[in-house]
């Protein structure tokens, strides 16, 4: 071969149009062999659209892709895999009831021999520092281990380009470190990595090159090691990000929300039970619950909101009133408000207008919304307008369907809808998950302001930066058990990481070390 082409993959002037939206507009991206290339941008900037086109899941409207210098058409993901492109999605596609080896076998082309495959899985996964037990059932594995399956599945096909969509969102800091070592090794071996992330520090740490998208266009191509997190963020947002003012000096008052030895059995084979959780949240205080996804966060949220009833009323006290056996609307009447993790389908009905979605959570607390059983459209429209104005919810028409809003805008609406009530207690799960930096800052500021006015706030989050930004005290949830809440000033990412892993995994790790 005479002279390797300089670039492994080139996307040249690629555009993708959905209806009237130009999701990608004249995007050019060049990835060299052996480089870790970051793809940065706010939500809705067009990162996913671009990588889906590279992976063959979408077709560009115009422009072309080149692979090793030659034009190539990628009609579907199978063709992408044939070229040597692997992708690890943010949401895993694994069968929980099957073993690791069976899951991987399902993705392999052609016939396979499960025993030989298992042996290969052990070898490759150990080689790359991502140890996996091929016969383990996926349901028993942590999220970090599940991600390993997805990565190993790609590695077995010997990819030349690995696309990773926000891989560290679900990992503990220690797990993330291990992943970075693996990626560095892959890069040394000549495999290129296209790395999508929101976390600028980590991009600075591991990436050689960064392409930044804004509103579907490439706005910069920089060497992230020469940039600061702030300068990268400026490029992404196109301006300075509003800094959240925490003003920790506000007064801490009485206990408003109290969990007293809360127990909840798992409600299915893949659900986590809650074990003996005790916590007090005081007026004026924000407590954050950190933890890796799938450790009981959603079960805890359901128990707090009343979507699942507790065994005893006094396991949960709202301003001193036993509420464990009360329904969600009774708890709302007592001054509590809830924002779930999933915006569409849980916090809001996708096909309903925003004003109807106001009625969804406020029909029992707001007399202007329902009069003798009849829904008052005008009252709902008024609330929806008020929320949209004060939280800067951007929308194409006055009262659009919830699903037509972008993630950040809908999240602002869903949080604003509750804050508009001035609740005495706010429980929010993942307040800024998948939300762009601008909207995140607005939401966090609003949460802090609520606490400063004397409400008790409980935030469940997987985002450590967010937790340190807003929390007064931090507790960690692991396998359904909650650690004690420590003042934020006494916590570090490492300490949280150890608590996240929990005693169970520490033991396992030691075990593996001896073996």
């Amino acid at each position: 071969m005479t002279g390797e082409p300089e670039y492994l993959l080139e996307a040249l002037h690629v555009a993708k149009v959905f209806g009237t939206l130009r999701a990608n507009d004249d995007v050019t991206l060049k990835v060299k062999p052996g480089e870790i290339h970051a793809l940065l941008g706010e939500n809705g900037a067009g990162k996913s659209t671009l990588v889906k086109m590279i992976y063959g899941a979408l077709q560009p409207t115009s422009g072309e892709f080149r692979w090793l210098g030659k034009p190539v058409h990628i009609p579907n993901p199978a063709a992408a895999r044939k070229l040597g492109i692997g992708m690890v999605f943010q949401h895993f596609s694994l069968f929980e009831a099957l073993t690791v080896a069976e899951n991987i076998a399902l993705a392999m082309p052609g016939d396979f021999d499960l025993a030989a495959l298992s042996e290969r899985i052990s070898r490759v996964s150990k080689d790359y520092g991502l140890p996996l037990e091929p016969n383990a059932v996926v349901a028993d594995l942590s999220v970090g281990e599940r991600q390993r399956i997805e990565i190993v599945r790609c590695l077995l096909q010997e990819p030349r380009l690995l696309i990773m969509d926000e891989p560290t969102a679900v990992l503990t800091p220690q797990e993330a470190d291990q992943l970075f070592r693996t990626l560095a090794r892959l890069a040394r071996e000549g495999c290129a990595v296209l790395y999508i992330s929101h976390r600028l520090e980590e991009v600075k740490r591991i990436c050689h090159n960064a392409t930044i998208l804004r509103h579907g266009k490439v706005v910069a191509n920089v060497d992230p090691t020469l940039e600061t997190a702030a300068s990268l963020a400026r490029l992404m947002v196109g301006g300075d990000i509003h800094i959240v003012k925490s003003a920790r000096k506000h007064k801490i008052g009485d206990v408003r929300l109290r969990l007293d030895h809360l127990n909840l059995p798992p409600d299915g084979p893949f659900s986590v039970g809650l074990k003996d959780i005790s916590l007090e949240v005081r007026a004026g205080e924000i407590i954050a619950i950190a933890g890796v996804a799938g450790n009981g966060q959603s079960e805890l949220f359901d128990a707090l909101s009343g979507e699942r009833e507790l065994a005893r009323a006094d396991m949960l006290l709202i301003d001193g009133t036993p509420s464990g056996k009360s329904g969600i609307n009774e708890r709302r009447d007592r001054g509590a408000a809830f924002v779930p993790e999933e915006r569409l389908g849980h916090g809001a009905v996708p096909s309903f207008s925003l004003s109807d979605n106001v009625v969804l959570t406020r029909h029992s607390t707001d007399e202007t919304l329902v009069k003798s059983g009849v829904v008052q459209k005008s009252g709902a429209t008024e609330v929806s307008g008020r929320v949209s104005t004060s939280f800067d919810v951007r929308k194409a028409k006055p009262d659009p369907e919830a699903r037509s809003l972008s993630g950040g805008n809908l999240q602002k609406f869903v949080i604003g809808r509750e804050l508009d009530r001035k609740p005495g207690i706010l429980v929010v799960n993942q307040p800024t998950w998948g939300v762009d930096a601008g909207a995140s800052a607005t939401i966090r500021q609003a949460i802090i302001d609520l606490a400063r006015d004397g409400s008790a706030v409980l935030v469940i989050s997987q985002d450590l930066d967010e937790i340190f930004e807003i929390a007064d005290r931090i507790a960690v949830i692991s396998r359904g058990e909650l650690s004690e809440a420590h003042p934020a000033s006494q916590m570090s990412a490492e300490k949280i990481g150890l608590l996240m892993a929990g005693a169970h995994e520490v033991k396992e790790a030691r075990h593996a070390h001896i073996a």
Binding site: G19, A79, V349, S351, V359, R403
Partner: protein, 360 residues
């Protein structure tokens, strides 16, 4: 060329309204094709089927009478389906309603007063509700699939009716025909004009009440949430089990009312066959009417036309009136297919080269 279904960002209101009309158009075209394949002049056959019944006062009255049970049941079913509760057994609830309502004149044949009629109607409604409550209970208690249980209960009800009219409730003076005594006086619904009877008014009232409930009240809101996003329904504090039961009681009650209305008007006595499948045709009515009570009113009239048209082509052209079922099937199929276009649009793309061309 490649045909692609592309998701719309919002549901298309235009398509939601026009989809039934496109479906109707498709049905007419496919129906004409079927007539042509059978060797009839398609235009003439379609005229006899769809237009001729609308040209005489008598047949228009028949149309309204036939639409009555379809609208009553369809209105109840549309509420169920909006809430994602799949009651397929309205035919059974209709049958039990007819039986329960007929119990009054059969057991107390001498009782003649306006109260008789009211008692019959009340029993019809209660019978339908009770029979609807069975799949509702099974769903809530054992998570049993309501599509299967409600459907299977149809056959139980029909066989029970068959046994009643051949056995204990057979008219002693009926020459051994499997029929009950013939109802008369206050055991029958008074007529308003021609063949149109009081039951037609029930259907109209049911439509108006349900349109208000669905459009304006918190209960209607709850029903729409339950169907669109069950998780959000729980978050809103609405109970799923109560919703399931409510839907079965409502649709069962209306089907029961339709059953006793039929008996106390056109049929006039209890017999093994009391409905030409109104409970099943009402499923089509519900969807054709956009699961909207007002829409159900018009869809009920259209489905009634399909029955009358079926009889018309049997008389004029000698085609089996089972053709009505064929038309109903094509109509349901078309409407469900066209409904895809509410959330998706069709795009035609020029064909690309089939496979990847990896550069070597």
């Amino acid at each position: 060329m490649r045909i692609l279904l592309e998701k719309r960002s919002e549901a298309s209101t235009l398509m939601a309204i026009s989809s039934p009309f496109i479906a109707l158009g498709l049905t007419v075209i496919l129906g004409g094709l079927i007539f042509a394949l059978r060797g009839f002049n398609p235009l003439e056959a379609l005229y006899v089927y769809f237009i001729e019944p609308l040209t005489t006062v008598w047949s228009i009255e028949q149309l309204i009478v036939k639409a009555t049970p379809l609208v009553l049941i369809g209105a109840g079913l549309s509420v169920c389906y909006l809430a994602n509760v799949w009651n397929i057994g309205a035919e059974g609830q209709l049958t039990v309603g007819a039986i329960a309502g007929s119990a009054i004149p059969i057991l107390f044949p001498a009782w003649q007063s306006p109260l008789t009629l009211m008692a019959m109607m009340l029993c019809g409604v209660l019978g339908g509700m009770a029979y609807g409550a069975i799949p509702g209970y099974l769903k809530n208690r054992f998570n049993a699939n309501e599509i299967l249980t409600s459907l299977m209960l149809v056959y139980v009800a029909q066989l029970f009716l068959d046994w009643l009219v051949r056995g204990p409730w057979r008219d002693p003076q009926g020459f051994n025909f499997p029929k009950s005594i013939t109802f008369e006086g206050w055991q029958l619904l008074p007529t308003i004009s021609g063949a149109i009877h009081l039951g037609c008014l029930f259907a109209l009232i049911a439509v108006i009440v349900l349109a208000f409930v669905m459009g304006k009240t918190l209960k209607g809101f709850e029903i729409r949430v339950a169907g669109n996003a069950p998780r959000a329904g729980r978050f809103s504090g609405f109970s799923r089990t109560r919703m399931v039961m409510f839907c079965f009681l409502l649709s069962g009650g209306l089907a029961g009312l339709a059953g006793i209305t039929e008996i106390a008007s056109t049929v006039g006595q209890l017999q093994p066959q009391i409905s030409p499948g109104y409970g099943f045709a009402a499923i089509i009515v519900a969807f054709l009417g956009r699961l909207n009570p007002i829409g159900v009113l018009f869809a009920g009239l259209l489905l009634a036309l399909s029955y009358i048209g079926g009889e018309a082509v049997q008389i004029s052209l000698g085609i089996s009136d089972k053709i009505a079922r064929v038309f109903q099937g094509i109509l349901l199929f078309s409407i469900l297919a066209c409904d895809t276009l509410i959330l998706y649009r069709i795009r035609f793309l020029p064909r690309h080269a089939a496979a990847a061309q990896p550069a070597e």
